[in-house]
Symmetry: C2
Subunit: 738 residues, 2 copies
C-alpha cells in the first residue's frame, strides 16, 4: 500500500516534470491552435470571420488566402471555410470584424496565367505563423509565414513547370462598400529580384498608404504589367489605379520560389528597412519557426490542463485575441498619425491600431491588461495619439483612423482601467485630459451637449439613443473614477451624475430602458423584442431585452430598479428562456439562449449577473452551457463574429472561471472554471493558478473555493488578488448549490 | 546747331535718367498690370480663365474670390467677370486652365449668416498682390493680399455691425468632376484667435493634403461648427467630410478683422512655421506692399516703352506668366513627393509644381529660361523629382502629381533646353537619365513599344495618334540633342531616327499628316477640317490643318514635304484664310484667323513659319494682327484660356519681336517687334534691348535690323546673342517688304 502510494506519487511527479519540460519547449502550445476555427459558418449561422493565414502576435502583416475576389461583410477576413477557390494571398486584413477592409497586395502563383485555383481542406493546413495549401488546378504548393512587417511566401510547382506570379494591387475588399476606391498605386521593377510600389486607397479607413518592398529568391525573366486592360511588357514602372503584374521565372531556378514582402504605412524606404531588420535571410523554415516561437512565447502566458478539445478551443481563442491590435509603426518608429502626417514614436515604443473598442473593451482589453501588461502603455499611447491629432479618443480605430463604427467611447474604460490597475508607463494626467475631453467634445453618435441638456439621448435627436445612454453612462463612470483618483472632485461629481443618466430612460411600468423624445415622452409603441441595427432605432444591433442589463457600474441599482434580487433573477430567467422573436433579427444576433445572443457583445456579461444577485449557480449553469455549446473546434467554432478577439477573450475568461463584468472595477465576477488547471504567468515571474479538478464533465457547479489555501466566499476576485500571485482552488460538483 | 545738338543730347540723357529712376522705384510697373484681364469671356468666346485675386510670383497661395459655388470648366479659376455673386475667398486655384481643381479653404464674412453676396465691378479693384471688393448685400469691404504660403484677408464692416466669418472646408472645385471627393478634414479651435485644420481631397490631383494655420486679429466670441447639417456649438474640434465653421467676433473689436491663413501640403506644424516665417505681423498694408514689391522686382526684368494699352497688355501678360509654377515646398523645405511621402529639398531649394507642359513648353518655359534663369534649376529638379519617385517626367503636373492631361512628354524639351542653354545648376547626366527613361518607359498616351514598333502611333492602338506622333517626334529630337552633347552617339542616332517618325504619317497625296492603323493603312474618310478633343480621334483639341505645322525640329523637311517654300507659303496662306468649318469645333478652338486658332496652343508658332519659308513679311503681318486683334485689356483680353501663362508668354515674345518656334534650338525666329523699346534685364547686370521706334501704328513691317550697331539679316536671333547683352534695332515700315 505504502509502496504503491509512493510509486503513484513518483509517477505523478514524473508526469508533472515531463509536463513542465513540455511547457517550456517550443512547438508545445501552438499545436493546440487551430487557425481554421472561426473561419466559416455552418448553414444559417454567423462566421467568426477569422482567417487561417500567417501572422505573428500583434503584427502588421496578416498573410492569408483570399477565397473571395472582393471580400465583404460575411467574408470580412477574405476567407470562408466553405469556399473552394483561392484568388491569392494578400497581406493585410481584419480578424473577426463584421465589415471588411485592408486586403492589400495580393500574390498568386500560376504556371499559365490563371488568377485563381480550386483547393480542398484535405490539402490545407495551418498553425500559428504558418499556412499551407495546394492550389489544385496547377498543383502548386503555397506556404506562408510572417514577421511583424513582412509576409513570406514559398511556392513550389512540379518538376518542369515554369512558375509565374501575379502581383495584384487592384485586389481589395469590395469596392462597392464604404466608397472604397484606389486613389493611386505604383509597381516598380527595381531589379530582377526586387519589386517595389504602393497603393493609396480610401475605404472603411479613410486613407491608407501601403508601401511595399518585395524580394524574390529567383530572378524575374520577364514581366507584363497591367493597368486595367492596358498591358505594358517588360516595363520598369507603372502608375495607375488598377495595377497588376505577371512575373515569369526561369525554369532552371524553379521549382521553388520564395517571395518576401515587407509593408510600411509610411514609405518604400521604411518597407525596405522593415525587411532588412526582420527578415534579411531566405530560410523559410527559420522564419516560420521564429513566427511560431513568438506565438509560443505569448501562448505560454496561460498554461492550462484540460481535455484536448478544451486546449484546442482555449489556445485558439487566446491566439485570436493576439491577432490584433496591429503594429502600425515601422521598425524605425515612424507611423502615419490620425492627421495623415508621418510622425515618430519614442524609441522603444510601438504604435498600434485596430481597436474595435465597442467589442474589445469588455473582455479583450481586460485580458491584455492581465497578461500583456507591458504592452498596455503602448496601446494607451496609441489611442492617445488619436486624441492628440484628432481631438478625441478612438471609437473604432483601424489603420490609425476612426470610423465611428458602433457607439460609446470605449477607449475611456480601457485607458482608465490601465491607470486604476496601476500599469506603469501610463501618464495619468495626460490620460485624464484625454478621457475628459473625449467625454465633452461632441462627435458622431456622441452629442454631449444633448447628453448634458437632457440627461439622456432623445431618440429624435440622437438615434440608437437607449444603447448610447446606457453605454455612455458607463464611460462617464470611468471618467469619474479617474477624476476621483486624481482628486478632481468637481469632475468626479459631474461625471458620477452623468453615469446615472441610464435611470432617466428606465420605465418602471414596463421594467425596461426605453427611448424618449426630447420632450421627455416615451416613444410608443415599445416592443422589447424588436431589433435595431446601426441607426434609425433606439437599440444598436440588439433589442431592449439585451440592452436592459448594461449598468455594469452600478449593478445593485439595476437590481433595485428591477425590484430586488428576486425580481432581477426572475427577469434573467425570462431572458435566458423566452425564445419569442419580433420581426427581423439584426445580422449580428446569433448564438441564442432565449433572448441572450452570445454572437454579439451586448449579452456578454449577462450570465454573470445571476452571481451578482445571489444566484451564482445560474451563472455557472449558463456560462458552462455557453462555453460547451456555443464554442467548438470546427470552422464554425464561434457563435458569431469573433470581433477582433472579443468572443475569444470571453471564452478565455470563462474557462479561467471569472469575468470582468465591469471591466474597470478591478473585480472579476466568478463564473465556473472549466479547466482542470490554468496557470497565468504574471510579471515578476509570479503565477496565479486556478485549479478545478473534476471527475465528470457535468461538474460545472462550484461547491467551495480556496484562495491561497484559505476558504474564499466572495462572488468575485480582484485584479490585485490575481497580480499578487497565488492559487485559487475550486471544488466542483454536478448539482447546483445555492 | 552744335548747342542745339548738345542740348538735345542732354535732354535725352535727362530723360533716360528719369526713366531709370522710375524703373527702380516701386509702384511703377505693377500699375500696368490689370488682373481682371482674362477673367471673363465676352459672349461666345473663351475666357482666359484667369483670376483677379492676390498672389505673389510663383507662390503657393492664390487668394481670390470665387464667383461660383463649385467652380468647373468654364470658370476653372473660380472667377468669372460676368458673374455678380461672390461665395467667398479661397486660397488656391489654377490660372488659365481648362479644368478646375484646388479651390481650398474658403472664408466669407457676414453680419448675419449669409454665405454669398452680390458685388459689382464698380466696387472692385485689383493690382498685383492685392484685391478688394465691396460685398454689397451687407456692405462689407473685403481686401486680400498674400505671401508665398500665406493669404491675408482684411474685412471691414459698417459701424455697429457685428462681424461673423464662415470658414468652409467643403467648398471646392465641382465634386461632379474628376471623381472629386473630400477624404477627410478637420477644423480645430486652438485659441480664440487661432484656428487650424486640414482637408484631404481627391480630384484632378489624385491626393492633396492641405493643412492650414489661421490667425485672427480679434478673438472669436463663439463658434458654430458644422459637418453637413449637423451643428456643433462652441466645440473645440470637428472632423468630417463636409465641414464649415461660423465664427462670431465681438462688436467692440470690430469693425476691422484681419485673417492670416498659412497653408502647407505637409503638416499643421509646417503651416505654422510658414506663417511665422513669412507673415509674423498684422500690418495689412505692409504685407500688401511687400507682395507688390515682389511683383515689381519680377516685372522689372523687362522694361518696355510703348503705348499705355501696350504696357497694360504686356505687363499683365508678364504677370500671368509668373502666377505659376507654384511653390510646393514649405519654408523648411518639406514637400509631398509624387509617391505621397513627405520629403525635403536641399537647403535653399524650392519644390515647384503646376506644370501645364503641353501648353507651357512652347513659350512660357523659354521665357522663364530667359528672364528667370536662377529659378530654372529648381523647376528642372522639381520635374526630375517626379522622375525619381514616379518613374518618368511630368506630362501635366499639379500639386506634384501627374494627371496625364494632354499628350507628349514636354518636360523633355524644358529640361533639355535648360542644359543646352547652359543653365548653371542642372545635372546634365541626371537630366539625360530622366529624359531618356521618360522616352522609353511607356505610360498613358505614350506607348513607346508601339512607337518603336510602327514608327508612328497607329490610331487603332493609340488614339490622338497623329498629334502624338508629331509632338513625340519633337520630344525625341530633344533627347537626341542632349545625347549628342553628352557624346552618346548610339542614343543620338536612335532618337534622331524617332524624331523623323512624323514622316510616316505624311500623306503626299493629300499633303496632310493623317492617321494610319496598325496595318499601315490610311484611315478613311479623312477630313482635315474635322476636330478632335482629348481622345477617340487622331487629333487633340484641333484638326489636321492645325497639327500640320508641328515639325519644329526640322522645318526645312516640313517645307520640303509640302513641296518647297512656295507651296509651303501657299499652304500657310490657305491656313490663315480658309474659314470653312466641318462639324463641331473643339471647346478649346477659338481666336480664329482662318484655320489658325490662337485660342489653343497647336497654332501658336505657325505665323512664324512664313519667316522660315522666306516670306517674313507675312509673319509680321499675322503676328501683328494677332497681337492687335486677339489681345486686349478687357476681361475678355485673351482669345482663349491663358493655360498657365502660355497665351501670355506668346504675347511677351511677340511684342519683343521674336519667338521660340523650336523652343530648344536656342534660336528665336524674328516676328515683328511691337514696342518702341524693350530692355531685358539679364544675369550679370547685362541688358538686351530691342528698339523699334515707329511713327504710325501700322508700321508693323521690318525694313532693316541692326544687332549691336551692325546690319543684321538673319530671320532669327540666338539665345547666345541675347544673353551676351546688346541692342537689336529695327527700322519699321508700313509697307510689307520682301
Amino acid at each position: 500500500m505504502k509502496l504503491k502510494s509512493m510509486m503513484k506519487r513518483l509517477v505523478n511527479l514524473l508526469a508533472a516534470f515531463i509536463l513542465s519540460v513540455n511547457c517550456i519547449s517550443a512547438q508545445n502550445l501552438t499545436r493546440w491552435v487551430n487557425p481554421f476555427i472561426g473561419t466559416g459558418a455552418v448553414q444559417s449561422s454567423l462566421s467568426g470571420n477569422n482567417y487561417p493565414g500567417a501572422t505573428v502576435p500583434f503584427g502588421m502583416v496578416q498573410l492569408s488566402p483570399d477565397t473571395r475576389e472582393a471580400p465583404d461583410w460575411a467574408q470580412a477576413s477574405g476567407y470562408d471555410y466553405n469556399d473552394s477557390i483561392i484568388y491569392g494571398f494578400s497581406h493585410t486584413r481584419l480578424s473577426g470584424t463584421g465589415a471588411s477592409d485592408f486586403i492589400d497586395i495580393l500574390l498568386f502563383p500560376t504556371i499559365s496565367d490563371k488568377r485563381k485555383s480550386t483547393f480542398t481542406h484535405q490539402h490545407e493546413q495551418a498553425r500559428p505563423g504558418y499556412y499551407q495549401v495546394l492550389l489544385k488546378d496547377e498543383k502548386i504548393q503555397a506556404e506562408l509565414t510572417a514577421s511583424v512587417h513582412v509576409g513570406v511566401h514559398r511556392y513550389t510547382c512540379s518538376d518542369g513547370d515554369q512558375l509565374k506570379l501575379w502581383l495584384d494591387l487592384d485586389h481589395s475588399a469590395n469596392k462597392g462598400s464604404w466608397n472604397r476606391r484606389i486613389i493611386q498605386s505604383q509597381l516598380r521593377m527595381v531589379s530582377p529580384t526586387v519589386v517595389e510600389g504602393y497603393r493609396i486607397i480610401t475605404g472603411w479607413a479613410k486613407l491608407r498608404k501601403i508601401y511595399f518592398h518585395l524580394e524574390f529568391s529567383q530572378p524575374i525573366l520577364s514581366n507584363q504589367l497591367y493597368d486595367g486592360n492596358r498591358m505594358y511588357e517588360n516595363t520598369p514602372v507603372i502608375n495607375g489605379t488598377e495595377l497588376r503584374g505577371l512575373f515569369c521565372f526561369d525554369k532552371k531556378w524553379n521549382k521553388e520560389l520564395i517571395c518576401k514582402v515587407a509593408l510600411s504605412p509610411v514609405s518604400i524606404e521604411n518597407a525596405r528597412l522593415n525587411m532588412a531588420t526582420e527578415v534579411p535571410g531566405w530560410d523559410f523554415e527559420y522564419i516560420a519557426r521564429a513566427a511560431e516561437t513568438s506565438w509560443e512565447k505569448e501562448l505560454k502566458k496561460i498554461i492550462i490542463q484540460g481535455t484536448d478539445l478544451q486546449k484546442k478551443i482555449f489556445y485558439t481563442a487566446l491566439y485570436h485575441t493576439m491577432v490584433q491590435p496591429n503594429t502600425m509603426s515601422d521598425v524605425n518608429g515612424e507611423y502615419m498619425a490620425s492627421d495623415y502626417v508621418t510622425r515618430s514614436v519614442a524609441k522603444g515604443e510601438v504604435h498600434y491600431s485596430t481597436f474595435s473598442l465597442w467589442d474589445t473593451f469588455r473582455a479583450a482589453h481586460p485580458l491584455y491588461t492581465l497578461i500583456h501588461t507591458h504592452r498596455i502603455p503602448d496601446f494607451v499611447k496609441s489611442m492617445m495619439r488619436q486624441y492628440d491629432y484628432y481631438g478625441y479618443l478612438p471609437v473604432w480605430q483601424l489603420w490609425g483612423q476612426d470610423n465611428y463604427c458602433m457607439i460609446g467611447n470605449h477607449s475611456i474604460p480601457v485607458i482608465v482601467d490601465a491607470v486604476l490597475k496601476g500599469v506603469a508607463g501610463v501618464d495619468e494626467e495626460k490620460a485624464y485630459e484625454a478621457v475628459f475631453n473625449s467625454s465633452i467634445v461632441s462627435h458622431p453618435n456622441s452629442p454631449f451637449e444633448v447628453w448634458e441638456k437632457y440627461g439622456y439621448m432623445p431618440e429624435n435627436i440622437q438615434t440608437q439613443s437607449v444603447s448610447i445612454t446606457l453605454e455612455q453612462a458607463f464611460d462617464d463612470w470611468c471618467v469619474a473614477q479617474l477624476a476621483k483618483r486624481l482628486g478632481k472632485e468637481k469632475d468626479y461629481n459631474h461625471f458620477m451624475k452623468r453615469s446615472a443618466f441610464y435611470r432617466n430612460l428606465f420605465n418602471s411600468k414596463t421594467g425596461f430602458f426605453q427611448p424618449k423624445n426630447d420632450k421627455g415622452e416615451w416613444i410608443e409603441p415599445f416592443d422589447p423584442y424588436k431589433y435595431g441595427a446601426n441607426g434609425g432605432y433606439p437599440f444598436t444591433e440588439g433589442n431592449a431585452w439585451q440592452y436592459f442589463w448594461y449598468v455594469p457600474q452600478n449593478i445593485p441599482d439595476l437590481i433595485s430598479l428591477t425590484g430586488g434580487n428576486k425580481a432581477f433573477v426572475a427577469k434573467l430567467d425570462t431572458f435566458f428562456t423566452v425564445s419569442y422573436q419580433s420581426g427581423a433579427l439584426n445580422d449580428n444576433a446569433s448564438g441564442f439562449v432565449g433572448q441572450y445572443a452570445h454572437g454579439n457583445e451586448p449579452s456578454h456579461h449577462v450570465a454573470y449577473l445571476y452571481a451578482c444577485a445571489g444566484e451564482p449557480w445560474k451563472t455557472q449553469k449558463y456560462v458552462a452551457y455557453i462555453m460547451n455549446e456555443l464554442y467548438n473546434d470546427s470552422s464554425s467554432g464561434y457563435a458569431g463574429n469573433d470581433d477582433c478577439g472579443e468572443m475569444s477573450a470571453w471564452y478565455v475568461f470563462g474557462a479561467l472561471g471569472f469575468y470582468p463584468v465591469n471591466p474597470v472595477s478591478g473585480e472579476y465576477v466568478i463564473g465556473t472554471p472549466m479547466l482542470e488547471e490554468a496557470v497565468i504567468q504574471l510579471p515578476g515571474r509570479k503565477t496565479f493558478t486556478v485549479k478545478a479538478p473534476r471527475k465528470e464533465d457535468n461538474e460545472v457547479y462550484i461547491c467551495s473555493m480556496k484562495l491561497n489555501g484559505e476558504k474564499y466566499t466572495k462572488n468575485y476576485i480582484t485584479h490585485q488578488n490575481i497580480m499578487k500571485g497565488g492559487i485559487l482552488e475550486f471544488v466542483m460538483t454536478a448539482s447546483p448549490g445555492k
